[in-house]
Amino acid sequence: MTAPSATIAARASVVHVGRPRWFGDALTIAWRNVLNIRRNPELLVFSTIQPVIFVLMFTYVFGGAIKVPGVRYIDYLMPGIFVQTVVFGSLTTGVGLAEDLQTGLIDRFRSLPMARSAVLVGRTFADLLRNVFVVALMAVVGYLVGWRPDQSALSVLAGLGLVLAFSYSLSWLFANVGLYARNSETAQAISFPIMAPLVFASSAFVPVATMPAWLQTFAEHQPVSVVVDAVRGLTYGGATTQEVLAAVAWIVGIVAVCAPIAVRKYRQVV
């Protein structure tokens, strides 16, 4: 312990506490969240093992039974796997936020002179970085089991970029779930019923045309299908401008709606 006299002397020095800086604060939070991801590698492994199993399962188990005209199933499947991976991965944004609320870390943040938006902006940014890693890994796994895009490298990269942009928009959606749930178990429980129909009632694994008519309308226009179709076109067979624009519209729309609501909810959360 320092003697009181020494600390009194130290107190005389000026303290340079500064006012909020939204960009710097968001970077600091992102730094902290990236460290969290690195310190829990099992979470990262878990979130990549599941899509790898899906790739193997759909390629070698179900793949033989699913016939998509005019394309090898692996080339049809991979865009769906990419999108499915980031959809399920975005769960961690909500669960992580709920955990921070639960432990009281958010209370500390809210008592500091930092930008109100930083906790959310920083976390969604860190989750985006994680997804860059996961998507790159999935691309390698896909290549190993025979995925061969027939479009230009630039077009394929644009497709993967679209996947990442979609993952970022979903982080904002599930940030709301986390802030609403306030604990990680509830956040998970709420998230699954949102994700399952989006992922499975979509064009991710099978053509929408094979579904019953009443489901097709939903399946065709919901964001997962729209993004998967665009990525599929960008990687195999060629995409129309309209497909890509529809995907971008969904992504921009989700962020435009979910981000302000989440920031507002964060300010108010007790």
Binding site: G24, G104, D107
Partner: protein, 338 residues
């Protein structure tokens, strides 16, 4: 008298139909420690959350260093530190990284963050553990790093929400020493606690809160003074003994009972002790224990809340009812805090 560093004026806060605070007022002059004492659900944490800008009051005024916290929340956050009962640090970061996190979020220059971190890790005896992840820390170490994190930016006003709840006695005593050092340093501290001993040891003034209202206020000595100078404690093997002894001893002073124990508050300890012994002996009562001691804040709490036991039994639902201001459970809670 200068403006108090911490001021709460008639704070009211309602959650749904539960009145967490029903017009609470208190103040702490610069450089002093104010203890908010009360059982769980009394409203202490709500008051602290309002003063630290985490919660807006429905009514009333909350000031830190003369500034209304609802008018200038950012300015308030620049001059306060908060350490919570849940040790709100990032368990997946090391001790040093946690301090760096707070240093960056308070926008200190990096050289200053380094200097402050070195000094705090040293002061809190965490230098050897500075690079270990906090999730590997013991409970006491977690509280220390939590407190250190609240001090990185040298806040002149510090809020401690039940800083030692759940700690073992040794860690608690250590943390008390640390808090005393901070106070010697001129920091103004608001401390919430359910431990009477903690308030007694650390606080210059104590505000006793229950069911969202202040039920007593004063220095530890003043609060104890309400009870007379001395307490005679008589223990029996059963409640019947307590009841019979109460009859015999009631003329000697104020009596509060609790299970198999009876506490008699008196002004002249030695004489009263003799009288008590004679009275018990004459009634052929054989106590298991008999002791003369200085009053503690436990006695204060029991006597402040002891009326409750004599009133019609309220429902067991502690937190939901906005009406009960005098409740039987307080006696039990007061005991649980010892």
């Amino acid at each position: 008298m200068p403006a108090p560093a911490i001021l709460a004026e008639d704070l009211v806060k309602t959650f749904g139909d539960v009145e967490a605070l029903k017009g609470v007022s208190f103040g702490a002059p610069t450089g002093t420690v104010l203890g908010l004492l009360g059982p769980n659900g009394a409203g202490k944490t709500t008051a602290l959350r309002i003063l630290t800008t985490l919660l807006r009051p429905d009514r009333g005024r909350a000031e830190v260093l003369g500034v209304d916290v609802t008018v200038d929340p950012v300015g308030t956050r620049m001059s306060i530190g908060l350490a919570g009962q849940n040790a709100a640090v990032d368990a997946n970061l090391s001790g040093r990284e946690n301090l760096r996190l707070v240093g960056r979020l308070t926008h200190l220059p990096s050289a200053e963050i380094k200097r402050r971190s070195d000094a705090l890790l040293e002061q809190f005896d965490l230098t050897r553990a500075e690079n270990r992840l906090v999730r590997t820390y013991s409970g006491g170490m977690r509280r220390r790093i939590d407190l250190a994190a609240a001090l990185v930016h040298r806040p002149p006003v510090l809020f401690l929400d039940e800083p030692t709840t759940g700690l073992d006695p040794r860690s608690r005593t250590d943390l008390w020493g640390t808090i005393e050092d901070l106070v010697a340093d001129g920091t103004t501290v608001l401390l919430t606690t359910q431990y009477l001993e903690e308030a007694d040891r650390l606080a210059d003034r104590i505000v006793v809160i229950d069911h969202g209202a202040v039920i007593a206020e004063g220095t530890a000595t003043e609060l104890k003074g309400r009870l007379g100078n001395t307490v005679i404690e008589v223990g029996f093997g059963d409640a019947a003994g307590v009841a019979r002894a109460t009859e015999q001893l009631a003329r000697l002073g104020a009596i509060s009972t609790d299970g198999h124990q009876l506490r008699l508050s008196v002004t002249n300890g030695a004489a009263a002790m003799l009288a008590a012994v004679r009275a018990l002996d004459a009634a052929d009562l054989q106590p298991l224990t008999l002791a003369l001691r200085e009053p503690t804040l436990d006695d204060v709490f029991l006597s402040l809340t002891g009326h409750a036991a004599e009133e019609p039994t309220p429902s067991e639902d502690d937190d939901a009812s906005p009406t009960g201001t005098r409740r039987g459970r307080r006696t039990k809670t007061g005991m649980a805090s010892t």
